[in-house]
Symmetry: C2
């Protein structure tokens, strides 16, 4: 696996998803990359924080903006294991993030099912990177819940 490839960075997001799994959180992980450096990483903490706004993406938007001292993230790429929901897509819109790379699709809660585009027109999207691995961790998680 080449350094600085989408697969390389998605692996890092998957590591974050695994951290969520270990905390009994729906396992979604996210990182933000700026000039080939990871400047923010986190995972879903909805249960631990009793807070639906604690999705992985929301946390890395906050962290990356803090790190860059800039609320705009147009030179950054978000890697997230699952397709963002409407809330996270709406946050991405405000940040004007340069690019979003996500793993597995979320047909029920993902932003892509909304007909009107929710993202900023300048935001590029790549999907399906390591999607089997991203998807499997979620399937495995919900199997432990049965």
């Amino acid at each position: 696996m080449e350094n600085f490839s989408d697969e390389y960075f998605m692996k890092k997001a998957i590591d974050e998803a695994r951290n969520a799994f270990e905390k009994d959180e729906v396992p979604v992980g996210a990182i933000i990359v700026h000039k080939n450096r990871i400047i923010a990483k986190s995972h879903n903490l909805t249960e631990m924080l009793t807070d639906f706004t604690a999705h992985a993406e929301m946390q890395v938007f906050t962290s990356a903006s803090e790190y860059l001292n800039n609320k705009y993230l147009n030179n950054c790429t978000l890697y997230v294991t699952l397709e963002p929901c409407v809330m996270c897509a709406g946050a991405a819109y405000w940040t004007r993030i340069g690019r979003i790379v996500f793993g597995s699709s979320d047909e029920n809660r993902g932003y892509e099912r909304i007909k009107t585009s929710l993202l900023h027109p300048k935001t590029k999207v790549t999907k399906g990177v390591l999607k089997e691995e991203c998807s499997k961790i979620i399937t495995d998680f919900f199997e432990t819940k049965r």
Copy 2:
């Protein structure tokens, strides 16, 4: 103005918007009411926190969930001076908030311009409460920017 009316609570949200104005933030205020008690109040802090996720609504969702120790807010009402954006509507969806009351509409950035409903099917919406007052504070703010 009757106690516990929508106008009564919207006035409280407007007080929060004024706090934002004084901090040179786009003046939007929000409160969350549970059993006729205000359990969370805040205002937009995007500039101060260098963080687009710091909208008034996001903050009160977090605070109210913390206060109730429940990430679901189905017995709560959100009062917000401006129509929520897509991010905040997406967050409201997750919380399943019982009711949203907003003042002025936001034709450019509000969630209502999206054809697909972004809110939870059980969430009731009332709009236009004290809309002139809610709108005027924003107009006044942007006039100071010219």
